[in-house]
């Protein structure tokens, strides 16, 4: 029995005919994004407290680490990578605007978080 189950698992790994993971689990094809999520949450906390200067400094860490990981993450799912990448671009743009628009910063960070959590682009 165990062997058969193993065989099924192997076959499914090689031929993923069925869509992976039920939509409820919302597992990102990009894999573990918690490291990036932490930075977004930090940034968001600064923004919610009204400290946009600190938010702008913290978001730099996201830009750097996301850019560094591009060769590893993008091949996993170019489509999902682009979705998160665009959301990051919008957040960077809002936080680096002069003058910063607090509402826009908060909104773009909230959208970025849901992009990372894979809520907006489930198809």
């Amino acid at each position: 029995m165990k062997n058969i189950r193993l065989l099924v698992v192997i076959v499914l790994q090689i031929f993923p005919l069925l869509p992976r993971a039920s939509a409820g689990e919302a597992a990102s094809k990009l894999g573990d994004l918690s490291e990036f999520r932490t930075v977004v949450v930090d940034t968001q906390n600064f923004a919610l407290k009204g400290d946009l200067a600190k938010a702008k400094i913290r978001v730099k860490d996201l830009e750097t680490s996301w850019d560094e990981a591009e060769p590893a993450l993008k091949p996993r799912s170019a489509k999902e990578w682009h979705a998160v990448d665009k959301a990051i671009d919008r957040a960077l743009e809002a936080l680096r605007a002069n003058p910063q628009n607090a509402e826009l910063c908060k909104k773009s960070l909230a959208e970025l978080l849901s992009a990372i959590d894979h809520k907006e682009h489930l198809n």
Binding site: A69, A72, L73, K74, P75
Partner: protein, 258 residues
């Protein structure tokens, strides 16, 4: 003074190096620096892409002037130009992809077309595409134009394969090495030397990028975890050593046989 010195060199000295193993090794390492160098300045140093693009283009024009002005092959000037062409060629594709939203399929096709037309006009004007007889200004401009184009094309085609189509850099290293080996084998069996050279020139671009990614990426992502900065600095040091070595032992002072 500027003008007179950029006239076609009257001598018959080849301005570009002979194709050796060292040539390819240095070329592949230049590629990695092209991939990571500009990115480092734009993101880590914080210049942003616009300023980095402008600064690198100015450096490239300067290096190219220096290279064109030389009357013979000088390794330092030649390889400085290659490194900068590599950076700017990568930037052109990245600019199209990231800022203008051009798909990698489109840019791969467009750069293939531009490269083909450079070869067409080069061949029509000079009657040869040989890289062993680059001794006039016009030939040298064709040469550098083609090289810039191969870097842009190599970036587009390479990113298409490894990132959009999901090959990844580990499989990428193997695939591009195999393709290059295939070209080498075909060359043994009488593939046209000019074609073999330029195909290898294009393929070594994504090979260098995948290899650089493999060395630089974190272990959790399947890389060796050297980091982009260390990888680039390491390659840059090896290039400087190799070019210094070439400077002492270069053979291209030999007159080109007519």
């Amino acid at each position: 003074m500027e003008h007179s010195s950029v006239q076609p060199a009257p001598s018959k000295l080849n301005k570009v190096p002979e194709i050796t193993l060292v040539f390819w090794l240095v070329k592949i390492m230049s590629t990695t620096i092209g991939e990571t160098g500009a990115d480092y300045l734009a993101v880590n140093v914080g210049w942003g892409t616009a300023i980095t693009d402008v600064v690198m283009s100015i450096f490239l024009v300067g290096a190219l002037m220096l290279q064109l002005r030389n009357r013979r092959y000088v390794p330092a000037a030649y390889w400085l130009t290659v490194v900068l062409v590599s950076i700017v060629g990568t930037q052109i594709t990245d600019l199209l992809t990231d800022n203008l939203g051009v798909s990698l399929y489109t840019s791969t096709l467009v750069f293939s077309g531009i490269l083909a037309s450079i070869f067409f006009f080069w061949n029509r004007s000079e009657g040869t595409l040989s890289v062993h007889t680059i001794f006039t200004l016009r030939r040298e401009l064709f040469y550098w134009g083609a090289i810039l184009c191969t870097f842009a094309l190599g970036t587009a085609a390479g990113d298409l394969a490894t990132e959009e189509l999901g090959l990844g850099f580990r499989v990428g290293v193997v695939v591009f090495l195999a393709l290059i080996a295939g070209v080498g084998l075909a060359y043994r069996f009488k593939l046209n030397a000019v074609l073999a050279f330029w195909m290898t020139y294009i393929l070594t671009r994504p090979l260098g990028a995948s290899l650089g990614d493999y060395l630089a990426q974190a272990r959790k992502y399947g890389g060796l975890g050297w980091g982009t900065v260390n990888t680039s600095l390491g390659f840059l040091s090896v290039i400087v050593l190799a070019v210094t070595y070439l400077g002492f032992t270069q053979k291209s002072l030999e007159e080109v046989k007519k």
